[in-house]
Symmetry: C2
Subunit: 286 residues, 2 copies
C-alpha cells in the first residue's frame, strides 16, 4: 500500500514519530504525486526533523486502493499519524505541527500579513489561467499547441497578465527584503506554501502552456534557486512527469505514453541566462 | 454538474455571496453525500446566513465528473467560492468564515479547551471501531451480521469500550453545563463538528455495527435531539442511505440494491424510551 521515505536521525530516542501519508503519482504509486498540501506539510515536517525535534516517515498512498480506502474511510491525503491519532484535516495537521514548532521554539509559523497578501491568490489565479488556456488550445493541431501567449484573445490574456503581475510583486518583495526566504534567513510556512506552487507554475507553464516565469524577475528566480537548494523542498518534490500527469488527468487531456514510460526527471536547474544574472548580482551568495 | 440549494433572505443586497461545493452522494449525484467537513462548513455558513450576514449557495458535486475535475484541478470538496476567490483548503475556508463571523460579532468560534479535548478523538476512535468490527464480521453468514457486541473478542471490544467511555464523557459535560449547545444557548463550531459525527455514529452504528448510543446517556441524546431541531443541521444532513453507502464503499462491503433504490430517508427521531426520559427530566424545554 505504501512506500516509506524514512527520515531518522538517531534511533531509539523519545522524539515523537510523525507519519505523513502523501498522495502517490497516478503514473506509479511508488512515486510521489503532485499534491500541493502534501508537499507543504512534508516540508514543514522536514524542518522539524532537520533540527531534531521529531522523527518523520513519509508514505505514498494510492487513494484508489481498497487498503487505503478502508484504512482511512474516505479521508484524502495529506493524512498525518502520531501514535494512535489520525489527523485527516489540514487544520488539525497544521495545528499539531504548529504546537510542536512552538514547543521547541522553531520559528516556522511567524506571521507576516504583507507576505500573506502577495502569495494568497497567486496559485488560484494560475489555475484560472491553466483552465482558460488549455481550453483555448483544445482541438488545435499538435504542432500549434501550446499556442503563443501573444496570440491569446483578451479574455484569456487577462489571466496571463494577472499571473505576471503577481509574480512581479513577489519579485519586488524579495528585492526589497534581500532575504533568502520570504521572511528571513530561514524557511517558514509561507515558503512551504509558495515554493511548491511556484515549481508547479514553472513545470506546467513550460510543458503545457508555453509560459515561463519572466526571465527579468531575477529575485524571484533566485528564490526558485533557493528552493532547489533546500533539502525540505528537494526531498518532497514530485518528478516533472508526475506533476504534468496530475494536471493532464484533471484537465482530461491526452496523456502520451512517452510521459508515463519515461524515467522520472526533476527540473531543479535555472535557465542559463537567468543564473548568469543572479551570479552577476551576487544574489546566490546571500 | 451541480444542484443548488439556495439560501437567500432578500435579493439585491450587498452581502457577500458564499458558494459551497459539497460532495455528492455516490448513489445519486443530486443528493448530498456523507462528507463530514462539507457538513461542518455548511452548518457554519448556515449560521451566518440565518442572521443575515451572508448569502449562501450550496452545490453538490460529483467528484468523478470531468467538469468537476477540470474546474477544480484536483481539489476535493468542501470548496468555497466567493467572487473570484476559490478556497480549496479547510484552513482557508475556516479562515474566511472566521473573519466574517468576527466582523459581524457572531460568537461562532469561541474557544473552549475542555470541549475540544472531549470531542477531538471521538470520531477517530469510532473509525477504528468500524474497521475492526466490520473486519471481524466479514465472511460471516448474513443472518449473523452484525455480530453481538458481547460476542466480540477483547481486541475489538477495546474499541467499543473507548467509544462508550467517550460518549459518556460528552454526556457528563452536557449534564454539568445544562446548556442547549456545547458552549451555551447558541451553536458554535464545536457543534458543527460534533453533531454530524454523532449522527454518523448513530446511523452507522445501527445499520452496520449492531451498536447504538447507550440509551442511558440522556443528556447526549437530548443533544442529538437538539441537532434534529437545528435548521443548520437538518438542511445539511445527508440521507441515511447516503451515509451508509459512503462507509460501505470505503470498507469495500457489498451494497444491496435495496439501499440504492430506496427513497432517501432521514432518521431524525429518537428512540421512544429515550425521548420519554428526556421529557420526564424536562431537558427538551431548555
Amino acid at each position: 500500500m505504501a512506500d516509506a521515505y524514512q527520515l531518522q536521525n538517531g534511533a531509539g530516542d523519545k522524539k515523537p514519530l510523525l507519519e505523513l501519508y502523501v498522495k502517490a503519482s497516478g503514473i506509479d504509486s511508488r512515486r510521489i504525486g503532485a499534491c500541493l498540501f502534501c508537499q507543504e506539510f512534508w516540508m514543514e515536517l522536514y524542518a522539524l526533523y532537520e533540527i531534531g525535534v521529531a522523527r518523520v516517515e513519509v508514505k505514498t498512498v494510492n487513494v484508489n486502493s481498497e487498503a487505503f480506502k478502508k484504512n482511512f474511510l474516505g479521508a484524502q491525503p495529506p493524512i498525518m499519524i502520531e501514535e494512535d491519532k489520525q489527523y485527516t484535516d489540514n487544520r488539525d495537521i497544521e495545528g499539531r505541527i504548529f504546537h510542536l514548532a512552538k514547543e521547541y521554539s522553531v520559528p516556522l509559523f511567524e506571521k507576516d500579513p504583507a507576505v500573506e497578501k502577495r502569495i494568497e491568490s497567486l496559485y488560484r489565479n494560475f489555475k484560472l489561467f491553466v483552465r482558460a488556456k488549455t481550453d483555448f488550445d483544445k482541438g488545435k493541431k499538435t504542432s500549434q499547441v501550446p499556442s503563443d501567449i501573444d496570440s491569446l484573445p483578451a479574455a484569456i490574456k487577462i489571466h496571463y497578465n494577472r499571473i505576471v503581475e503577481q509574480l512581479a510583486s513577489v519579485d519586488q518583495l524579495l528585492s526589497d527584503r534581500q532575504t533568502r526566504y520570504l521572511l528571513g534567513p530561514s524557511m517558514t510556512e509561507y515558503d512551504c506554501e509558495l515554493m511548491p506552487r511556484l515549481h508547479h507554475i514553472r513545470i506546467i507553464g513550460q510543458r503545457l502552456l508555453g509560459f515561463d516565469i519572466p526571465h527579468n524577475l531575477t529575485h524571484l528566480w533566485n528564490y526558485v534557486l533557493t528552493a532547489y537548494r533546500t533539502a525540505a523542498f528537494i526531498e518532497s518534490c514530485p518528478a516533472d512527469q508526475d506533476i504534468l500527469h496530475h494536471y493532464k488527468e484533471q484537465l482530461n487531456l491526452f496523456t502520451n505514453q512517452r510521459e508515463t514510460l519515461q524515467s522520472p526527471t526533476k527540473t531543479h536547474t535555472l535557465p542559463e541566462s537567468v543564473l548568469d544574472e543572479i551570479k552577476r548580482l551576487g544574489l546566490d551568495r546571500k
